[in-house]
Symmetry: D2
């Protein structure tokens, strides 16, 4: 079901959804990714933006997006307010600000009746996460979280294979998310007022590595296996001497139902680019995937030759087919996976606004429940780490 | 230089380019790819379309694209005419119709002062190609050809490494383009009026495999090495019994300057998805690349360990950096490579229309000269094949 | 320094070493591997054998090896005794019996003045290991342990790169040893008297997975990094319901000097063959290796393109060159790595017996100290596992 | 059927075969490979050697092999004569001399009633090949040719899959053998009397690249597909300026039965190690293999997910099982493949001498017919190349 043959907004509403963004100013990596994801789906018109709290940067950024000045803001709350008063105002708010403001902007948007697409992690603290999740439930509005690695055709194929029973009962899980961006010890970490918000424990959260990538790794195995982590024995810390933020976490996992797992995330592995990978073993076989070559999923069925599965290749299940937009052999990439999150969100939002039913494939998209689960996991990891890696329940 | 940080149209003109498309109706693979490429760049507004010669399909397709009915057409020539009369009419025409109409529509567009983005192959016959190339030169307008595999960051890195001398003098070239789409012999080829245009020698050209993929393989090695094929000894034919169109071509190559090469293209290799790959060896090392994992380029320097180059990874040269939009380790895919062609085209068109200079990185984009070279190559291959694979000059 | 150009026994002694084996009877996997390793080196003549405690099988096995009946035994101790009385008696005893008899036979051999090559793990218990290590030190004889994965050219290249400082200071270690041989839950584990010795905690040791493969994983990272594990937080257990022996162990590692690590071994990952792999990150780069493709070592230097190192390829260091016997591109395999252990042993034994100095490259071969370290690690893992994965010192 | 569990010589004769070697003196790559292959099988005792025509080197080499001086020779013919007179004389002669002497020594051995293992190519000229093939037929003795790449478990698995019909009818063949050993243009080729024999057209044959590696590539596709090349359009030459020997050959192939193919061999591809690879496509699927990772065979069945086959992994056919000596996941290498040729030879020789039947799996081993076919192919390639790459029958 390629993007081109099915446009959720046009399908349900006969028009595109009106989107406003908060955050993602000039130079932001993730801001461009969000906006391009929206464009790829062809289901959104970007109508307003507050890409920066700095008025000049907000204006520059908004103009580069081709927006009229009246719809360019430097205060996200004011934008939500202004847009909510327009007949042609934004219906969907996409939030890509520092983590500590996710709750603030989400709350305002939801209270204004807008649907929300929010960058991960959902919040910094468990209290915030619980408040936001409750509000989403209460309003009945759509909230989607850009755990974008769940948008790849092959992670979705993996999830679908588990759901259809091709793996049998899940027994063992290995997940790693290894990067090298914080490995160069000749470059001291930025500190003080000029440091990026990620390095500030208030804005960026209690554990940099967990907020940045640890929640992705956690969410990905939940997504594929459908299992929650029940207990964790973990150590989080800084491997680089003198570093004040966390740059690695190792953990042993006990999953609900009894599966066991190994979890390893770090941003201090010199020379490694972006190795998010898993091996998931069930009674009938194992699945292996690595984000650096996301167009391949290895399936090793018990007693049969290993298989290499590809997007839209033989054996593609509906959830993966929904998420693959080209014929087999023409690899899509990170932007397409990210766009699948936006497309799922468009399906949910457009169907809700049209009073119609969203396609079931769109419902695997991460939402507030996944966000809450992620913060619970981070909380348990940090608690275990402080208690000498004692087994700690995730709750 | 990510798409997000640099929008050619906004940069040069302060606005997006107005784009109209001909061809690419409902169900077309390539139509969606073109339009999504345009969206990814954020440099075009799609303002008009003639996606099908069938009025009903044209209307359905146009509506799905969110176009006003007055700008939906079933006749590309009429659309060009109508748009050329509007003040806000299309400036760029993208053509993705059967090959035999590329000249017709390109000519009309160029004569109307519009810039052109055309699908490959440029034309079916050498006569057509020569006419079109001459017209492009004469008008001074922009003509770009979607040999999209030249849009990948790593094919561009390869070209840049050759240009900067990292390979030394080119000695040996291997290129293959192997697919399996026409391998299933239990499925007879479509024939007669209902057959897709590709199977019609008038519309699809004299050699299906050469038009579909053979020109891609030829163009890719020219792109990377900067060398033209001087002579060819070739055999083109049908390996599947009873087939009337060509499904394979093998050739030996003599390049200008003396390098030698091997060329192999087929659509009848059962089970193979889309293996376009090359090995290019110079006096200082070899480069290896395969489209199925386009985010990797292997460089094997003489006497040193082999290297794996990645988009935006260490050693990235300007042409590749211009074409990579994410930090290393986050693979972009086929759509992003395709979009790089549209972005190069936007840079050229917007700069021309603004009277400014296009960025030099954008000038490697395939144009009418590449299209003409491709048709010359096809012509020589078929001539050699008919003459018992005798060495035949490409001219 | 290929096997063919340098024969340790011929070099130091002008003749081959006389070898006797205990264990490895008909049907044994490891027995054939040991004997073939000896043959590959061309440094041993097999002169006596007690391949089985069962007299008939011992006889059959010995005859298949082409031995004279007087030198075929079913009792290893008797063989050691008999051989020690012959002028042309065995000089080296290779032991490949169940783990609980390694001490017994090693002791007898050492006391008879014979050098020993012993299969891993060195012993089942720490007490045994300490006794054996002390005896080796006391006698001054050669004792080598077939942790054969340290014999591959590329694990040796990795070690050598760490030693020469190419990785800088070691920061992070990941190691996994994942197999699927015990994943098929439709096949209940053998129990009772007919079960293979591995399933008997007395003969096979307290933790099957640790003895079989966990000690390999532990030894390999020590070998490459030169660092001991200082503390471990671990869980060992059975993931397959109803299983009585251990089939997985997960652990977090604290290395001496402060590096951190993740350790994961299991024999219950359905469909996985023999995935022993590591990633070792230092301040200057990371090394990645997987036993299933042992002829490749990936080096990812900080800020430079990733490299693929190959046996005898560019950049080969002396320890690896010593262990690679063919020109680059002709991959050697598991038997060749195993044979490198036998070759190192031959070098040590022949030099000792000749009163000459062994080549320094031969001294990286695992010995009693490595064996003792392995049993200490197993002991700490099991202790931690029993104490709720509490951090436990390895001592 | 591991080497350890089945020793052809012991099985058929109750003893090892007596082997003598000609050629492979100190420093020879291939000499060590042959002797180690013999040792790996445990089916031969090396009893005599003429490793060099230079008496001093012959003596040094023979002593290093632990031979008695009376069985060390510098003249192969004299060795054959002397051994043929001994009761315990050599039964099998292995020949690894310059190509132009293969006929001479083979003839002498066969005439003395000895079986022969000969390095490839069988001879330099077609006349020699025909004479030798006829003599083998006439004597009924065993003659095996070390086209060792046919000894890998996965090339044998490929052959067996074709034979059992898993590929259907063969349609398309691609084979390349690409090396970089002659790419460094700063190192001029050795010339004159001091040049290695390979560079001498009389000793090394009319085309260096064809004799060295071209015959391997040709033989491998015949082996796997069971098809002969019927016609060839080829160009052989020197790509390096000023070079007098051939360093590349490109060819188009027409196979008997109609399959088409592409053939590319060169030793001048800078930085490439030893890339012998094929893709063979039949009506039911394709097989892909590359010698640099010989433990993997990719099978892409039509309409089903691609599979990765491994030695002794699921789906292993008898010919491959016969040739794999370890449990899956423990990769064997080049020496093991080479040894499989020696083992097949031992099976044939021992069965013949015992008057028993050889195992059918051993009969796929290359022999004089394969050698003759190879020389016919070289002859046709060179003829085609001289005639402007005209299609030339292989006969």
């Amino acid at each position: 079901m390629s993007r081109d043959n099915y446009n959720p907004a046009i399908h349900h509403l006969g028009r595109r959804l009106r989107l406003a963004v908060i955050g993602g100013g000039p130079g932001s990596f993730i801001g461009g990714m969000h906006r391009q994801a929206a464009r790829l789906t062809d289901s959104y018109d970007l109508v307003a933006a507050a890409v920066s709290a700095n008025p000049e940067r907000a204006l520059e950024g908004g103009r580069n997006l081709g927006l009229a000045e009246e719809r360019i803001f430097s205060d996200g709350l004011k934008m939500i307010d202004a847009e909510s008063r327009r007949e042609d105002g934004a219906e969907v708010i996409a939030i890509m600000t520092p983590n500590d403001s996710h709750l603030l902007f989400s709350k305002a948007a939801l209270k204004a009746g807008m649907d929300v697409i929010c960058d991960k992690p959902m919040t910094n603290t468990l209290k915030e996460a619980e408040e936001l999740a409750a509000l989403v439930e209460e309003t009945g509005l759509i909230f989607r979280l850009t755990h974008n690695y769940t948008g790849y055709p092959m992670t979705r194929q993996a999830k679908a294979m588990v759901e259809t029973g091709e793996l049998g009962e899940i027994r063992l899980i290995q997940v790693e998310y290894v990067q090298g961006g914080k490995a160069d010890e000749s470059q001291p970490d930025p500190k003080g007022a000029e440091a990026p918000w990620r390095f500030d424990r208030v804005k960026g959260g209690p554990s940099l590595v967990m907020g940045d990538i640890g929640t992705h790794a956690h969410n990905l195995i939940r997504f594929v296996t459908g299992l929650e982590v029940a207990e964790v024995a973990a150590e989080a810390g800084a491997i680089v001497p003198g570093r004040e933020i966390h740059d690695y976490t190792g953990a042993l996992l006990r999953m609900e139902g009894g599966a066991r797992g190994s979890y390893w995330v770090t941003q201090a592995a010199a020379g490694v680019e972006n190795s998010l990978s898993f091996r998931i073993s069930g009674t009938k076989g194992s699945l292996e995937w690595n984000q650096e070559i996301p167009q391949r999923l290895t399936f090793k069925p018990l007693g049969q030759p290993a298989q290499t599965r590809t997007p839209n290749g033989p054996g593609t299940l509906p959830l993966s087919a929904w998420s693959s937009h080209i014929v087999a052999g023409h690899p899509e990439g990170f932007p397409d996976g990210f766009a699948n999150i936006y497309r799922d969100a468009a399906e949910a939002v457009a169907a809700r606004r049209a009073g119609s039913s969203p396609r079931p494939e769109s419902l695997s998209c991460p939402d507030h429940r996944d966000g809450l689960s992620g913060i619970r996991f981070v909380t348990a990891v940090l608690e275990s780490s402080e208690k000498g890696s004692a087994w700690t329940k995730v709750k």
